[in-house]
């Protein structure tokens, strides 16, 4: 402010200063309020983050507890996986067996046709005549006559066998993709000393339990070759008198052999080698396009979980 002459008074100057100061104080107050508001916001955010941290820490603890119990169900998962796979393989093997049977019947028809030439037919007629007419009367003939007739019959028989052998081209082959089959085995060594070999085959237990009422088929062949391998392995490691016990487990054929005092490592190695070699070389399996091999598993994985009593294996028998 100034008077009419334009001169500034001191009072006016002081007033101006006071006004400036008031403005500055107001500005600072405004900034302090803004900072306080920001601090409040950050404090709230930190509190929220702290709560999130606590929640995550709790969740982590729960996950750690879960991690430590993940293995608790692994045995049951493995057991279920093994028997699920073997059951599926058994069904596939049975289907392939039906195909093989059809091919085998066709092969037999081919053999019959191959020996239908007049010369072979005459030999067959002579063979049948001997069996039905001559043989029943042989006992009443003098020894010298009997010897000549029998010798002649042996000659006829040998000729027929030779012709049949020539016409036989071996196991019937089938069309289709190869199927992969596992023969699962384990070696139980409770205290470092093997006591039991366990083998589970992807074949129906009736292959053993009802063998006399079944026709030999692809399942029979696989089981026979697997047992050949098992006995070969036992023989190779000094257990030539080992005798298998058989039982059903989930409808599949299970086998146990006791090898008291055996060394688990060599037993496992001998079984693996024998199974892979014998199953791999079996002509009837190769003709059926079945690729079978041994698969080692811990014995515990071949036994049902303790709470699953319904899945317990049947009592083993060697009958």
């Amino acid at each position: 402010m100034s008077d009419a002459s334009g001169l500034h008074s001191v009072a006016n100057a002081m007033e101006t200063v006071a006004k400036w100061r008031a403005e500055q104080e107001s500005k600072v107050q405004t900034e302090i309020a803004e900072v306080d508001q920001e601090i409040g916001s950050l404090t709230t955010a930190i509190s929220n983050l702290q709560q999130q941290m606590e929640g995550l820490a709790k969740f982590r603890g729960e996950l750690l507890a879960k991690q430590s119990s993940v293995g608790d169900g692994e045995g049951a998962q493995i057991y279920g996986g093994i028997f699920g796979a073997l059951t599926s393989q058994a069904a596939t093997l049975a289907e392939r067996g039906a195909t093989v049977l059809a091919a085998e019947n066709a092969r037999r028809a081919t053999i019959a046709a191959a020996i239908s030439d007049p010369e072979t037919k005459a030999l067959m007629d002579e063979y049948e005549q001997f069996k039905t007419t001559v043989e029943p009367t042989l006992a009443g003939l003098p020894a010298s006559y009997r010897g000549v007739i029998e010798q002649h019959h042996v000659g006829v028989t040998e000729k027929l066998k030779a012709r049949l052998a020539d016409a036989d081209t071996g196991p019937a082959s089938v069309e289709g993709d190869s199927i992969t089959i596992d023969v699962v085995f384990g070696v139980d060594a409770p205290e470092g000393q093997a006591e039991i070999i366990m083998v589970v085959l992807p074949v129906a237990d009736s292959v053993k339990m009802d063998w006399s009422n079944r026709q030999d088929d692809l399942q029979t062949a696989l089981a026979a070759r697997a047992m050949q391998a098992v006995y070969q392995a036992c023989k190779s490691i000094g257990f030539p008198t080992a005798q298998a016990m058989y039982g059903g487990h989930q409808g599949l054929l299970a086998v146990e052999l006791e090898l008291p005092g055996g060394d688990p490592g060599p037993i496992q190695s001998a079984l693996q080698t024998a199974l892979d070699q014998i199953l791999g070389d079996a002509p009837e399996l190769n003709a059926a396009k079945v690729q079978a091999k041994g698969h080692y598993s811990l014995v515990d994985n071949l036994l049902p979980p303790e709470e699953d009593e319904a899945a317990a294996p049947q009592e083993m028998t060697n009958a």
Partner: protein
């Protein structure tokens, strides 16, 4: 007729021998006689018979007359052991005792063998040819008298 001239399958061999197919496989391995294919000619079957000592004793033998049929069957079985020389170090396959018999007679003879073992009259052991049995030499007179209709080993009374 044609099948007579062709090699036999595993189960046919098992039926002919009087064992199950997997015992045939075990014997083939033990005798180093596994053929390339699972078809068996007469020579292999004869080889297995000789190697294993498998016999069908009851085909041509009947149990002796006895007021108690069970005792008669056991007497007959012991007689077959004696007649076939299964005494002392000379042994025979254990299942020769009941091959060809029904399940009831088989169970009876299995139980009888168990009791005779407990009394020390017979001994059994594992062998590559299959489980073996023989009469202990010291018991041959006792069991011979039982076969002839004399006193039976007391433990056998539990069977009848």
């Amino acid at each position: 007729m044609l099948s007579e001239l062709q090699p036999k399958g595993l189960s046919d061999v098992a039926k002919e021998l009087g064992v199950d197919p997997f015992e045939v496989v075990r014997l083939l391995v033990a005798a180093d006689a596994v053929p390339e294919s699972l078809n068996f000619n007469a020579e292999i079957i004869a080889q297995l018979k000789e190697y294993s000592g498998i016999a069908h004793w009851w085909t041509d033998n009947a149990p002796p007359a006895d007021a108690n049929p069970k005792r008669g069957r056991v007497r007959g079985a012991v007689k077959l052991l004696i007649d076939n020389g299964a005494v002392g170090d000379s042994t025979t396959r254990l299942d020769n005792l009941w091959r060809g018999l029904g399940a009831e007679d088989q169970l009876l003879l299995e139980q009888a063998v168990g009791l005779l073992m407990q009394d020390g009259h017979v001994q059994t052991f594992a062998a590559v040819q299959g489980a073996q049995i023989s009469i202990n030499a010291a018991s041959s007179d006792t069991l011979g008298q039982f076969v002839s209709g004399g006193a039976e080993p007391p433990s056998l009374a539990a069977l009848w």
